[in-house]
Every structure is written in C-alpha cells, then in structure tokens.
Symmetry: C2
Subunit: 292 residues, 2 copies
C-alpha cells in the first residue's frame, strides 16, 4: 500500500501516470494453485482419455500409451517434451471457438484430486483482493503465464476480472482459414513461443509494449520478469509468494519439480522483492474458505 | 451511428456487452496516409543513410547500395524481400528503449515529401473523431497493421489515444538479455510474423483473443480482417476507405502498388461493408486543414 500510495499521489516524486500503471501476475502458483501438478496438465490427461477412442494407435504410442494405461504421474514427472507432445495432440487443429468450448466444459466438470473443488475455486482470495485494489487505483492488470494463453483466456475474465487481451502466455502457432465457407482461426499443432523464464519479459514486450511497474510471481520461472520490472528507475514493486502452509494449501520451494522457488528466493533481499509468507500473512486461502 | 446505437442500447436484440465491443483499425491508409510510399519505408531509408558511415560495406552491397546512391524509389517499388532486409539491418540488435528513441527523433524531424507536414499530422481527422466516438460508447480501439508493431507503438498513444498494448503489427523476434548488468529487451534481425492479409485475424487472435465487432481498412490486405469480423452472428460493421480525392489527398485503388484496393472493393456490396467515399464524405482530411 505504501508503494501504491507513492505512485498514485500527484506531486510525489514517484508519481506514475495511470497509463503507465502496468501490473503483471504469474498464474500457476500465484493466482491459482499448481499442486500436485499444473491444472492444465490434468486437462491434457483428461483430454487424451476423451479423444482416445478416435486414436487406437495411441495404445502403442508414447507418451499416450502411458497416460491410457493409467500411469499419468509418470508423464507429469517426465520431461517437458512429453507434455508438449500431449498439448500439441490435444490442442491442435481445433478452431479457437471449438477449443474454448472444450476448456469451458472441462472446467465445469473437473475437480481437484485433493480438495474436490472446481479448479476456478482454487484461486487465492488475497490475490483477488490485490487485483481489485490495484484496478481501483487505475492499474491495468495482466496475466503473464507459462501456461497456454488460449487456455487461461477461457476463465480469466470471469475468475479474475482480466479480459483476454490482457493475458500473455505460451502459445501454439495459429492460422486463418475458410472452413465450410466460414472464416475461422485454427490452432496448429506447433509450438510458437514459451512464455516462461526469459520468455516472460519477451512476452510482455510483445503483448504490452512497455515495462510493468509491478510484478508478482512465485517461482524461478518468474525471476526475469521480476528482475526486468524492478530494475528500471522509479518506484517498482516485486512480489514473491512463498508456499509454506501445508495445512491450508501446499508447502514447496527449493526442491519442488513444480513451481521451484530457489534463486528468486535467495536473491529477493538484495533485489528488494517482497516475500509473502502465506502461512502467516494470509488469513484466507481460497474464496470458499475450504482448505486442502 | 445506427450500428453503434444497435449494439449499445440495452434490451436491443443486437446489444453487445461493453467488454465485447472490440474495434480494429488498419493504420497505413486508414488512420494516416500511405502515399507516395509507406511512411515506415521512408524511416528505413533515412536510417540507412544515418547508419551508413558505420557500414562502409553497404556501398557495394544491395539493397543498401541503391539507397545510398540516392535511388530509393527503386527499392520502394521493389520486392518485399529488399524492404525486409532493410528493416532487419536497421531495426535489429537495438534494445526496445533505444529503438523508441530512434523512431521518436525521426518523427520529430522528418517531413512528408509533398505536404511538408510531420507524418503524425497526416492522420485523418474524421478517423480521429470516429475513434473518439467509439471509445465514448465504451468500445476498446485497437490498431491492426502490416507495419511494425514497435514503430507504431511509439506514436499511437499520443496521436490516436491508442496505448501500446492495443497495437498489433508485424514483428521481429526479440529476446531478453542482461547488457552491462541491466535487463533489456533486444530486437533481433529476424522476422517473426507478418501481420497482413490472413495474418491480421491471426494477429488479432494472438493479441486480443476475441473476434472484433467493428473493423476498418482501406486495402485488400484488410480483406480477411474485415471478413472474419463481419462473418459471425449479431450486428457487425465493416468499413472500407476509398481514396479518391486527388486534390485534397491521394487517389488510388485497383492498380496501386501501395494500398491496392481491388477484391475488397468488388466484394463490399455482397459483404455489406460500408465504403467511405473520401471525396464526398469527408469535410476535412488532415487536422491542420492543410491539403496535399
């Protein structure tokens, strides 16, 4: 609040014009939970099962065979290449409108394996309040995620109040074509850009075109976004969530394969990034007041 | 105005929620002039001359040699490949902040070869009024241009009231790196995406993530954007500017190498696109009231 006051008080030496009040938020582990695995990975697995009757060849073909044998944890802890192969097979060749429907349907019916909650209810109440507070102070809020841009856009507006044009993420290539006489956008099964690590400042540059003054993340994948945001002149704010509440949520940091927080945590003090200690700083975790 | 009334009147069967009121505008020939050549091409030529002392090899190397011999018109009427080579040589390896300064300086000093006006004064007064009118009706206005995204972003906010995050355009690859201890974004001399023709709906999909309900253009390069915008259900508006006023501006259409308007004009009637006849429909062309 002291940062926001500085940049919004006319006459303050740190005053920032409303047009320049850009705030960026990581999604997985920052706006919604990411354990035991990224929620989009669970979507991919469900989608493989759903599509498998049309793909008998998957029974013999990796990484699909492992998923269909009921051993998804092997894939989820496997290399990024397998996950990308799954994403390409399940997201590719749909039109953008078809893909939206698939994701929307999944979000309605799917439940978290531990809490039994819909995934869109596993968003962090304090972060929703922070988004609303910044917007009330004329900040423009953006998501900058390693997750799929088209996936997040399906629920970001309703869930976070962030419209599709303010979502930056990893993307497939896409092309325009005429299908059955109607112009459509088709998602191609080809990765175009990974919006993670050094990709985050590059994604911000492409989509937003100026440097944010506020960035929030929770893992080393957010390091460059935080560094780029806070290294320019003037008042800047970098925030890191430290997941340390095993009872109400999850506890993981330096040794986690998902959402590893190591270097960014070590450097937080010298970089003046504010570390949020979830266990002691957050009264509520999820809006429904459920805990894990 | 009848279209805007329909989509903004609560209870109307064509009512569109403000969050969905997306309006997209081509830039060259739609928001500012594009004759005798694209203004960004003139920027490229000036930049080649400015950089040439550091590149003695250009004296012998095409397409640079032709520019430096003072025959730029040969390049400007040449293939797209030469123009891209010039763009890569002049835009690449600068940081985004350095590039902004170069463009800003050029815009301050450069003048149109025929009117003697600064290029940012060769914007169309009726289009500025249209942008303001749509924004007052809670439309979000975007530029979707075949020109360079980083080039347009330098002047779009001041000139059109369109912030950088609402500009879509042709782009180089860019990467994040640490230079002299400081995080920066560097423009790479490699083309990433051409936002023209079928690239325009793909660019809109990437940056905006939903289909516009209003599109304005002036050439066949806008055909797919107009078609995609107006082919979905509900009230939609497609606008084509026809440059036919040789006295006050420029007259060109089916046979022009810059801003060719042929198929989009032919199909305008069956597609229900509104053709603006500049000569008779526009009282004023440029804000300064100067004419060509």
């Amino acid at each position: 609040m002291s940062f926001v006051e500085k940049v919004t008080t006319a006459g303050s030496k740190d005053y920032v014009d409303p047009s320049q009040r850009i705030a960026v938020f990581d999604n997985d582990g920052t706006l919604w939970a990411e354990q035991p695995v990224y929620f989009q990975a669970l979507f991919l697995l469900d989608r493989i099962k759903q599509l498998s009757p049309k793909h008998p060849e998957w029974a013999e073909q990796e990484p699909f065979a492992t998923v269909l044998r009921g051993e998804p944890e092997k894939i989820l802890s496997a290399d990024e290449k397998s996950l990308v192969a799954l994403a390409m097979a399940t997201h590719g060749n749909l039109t953008d409108d078809e893909f939206k429907i698939v994701v929307r349907d999944w979000l309605k019916s799917a439940r978290h394996p531990q809490t039994g909650l819909p995934f869109t209810e596993m968003v962090y109440q304090p972060m929703l309040e922070l988004l609303a507070y910044l917007r009330a102070e004329h900040f423009k809020t953006f998501i900058v995620s390693g997750g799929g841009i088209d996936f997040i856009r399906v629920f970001a507006e309703e869930t976070y109040g962030i419209p599709p044009e303010q979502v930056v993420g990893t993307r497939n290539k896409a092309k325009y074509e005429i299908r059955d006489g109607t112009p459509v956008i088709v998602k191609l099964p080809e990765l175009d850009f990974i919006d993670d690590g050094p990709g985050k400042p590059a994604g911000i540059h492409l989509h937003i075109g100026r440097r944010p003054i506020f960035a929030a993340g929770n893992s080393d994948g957010d390091y460059q976004m935080l560094d780029w945001t806070t290294s320019s002149e003037g008042a800047r704010f970098g925030m890191i969530l430290h997941h340390n509440d095993e009872d109400r949520e999850f506890a993981y940091d330096r040794n986690s394969s998902i959402g590893k927080l190591d270097k960014a945590w070590t450097d937080a003090e010298t970089k003046y990034w504010t570390v949020v200690d979830i266990k002691s700083d957050w009264k509520t975790i999820f809006p429904t007041s459920s805990s894990k």
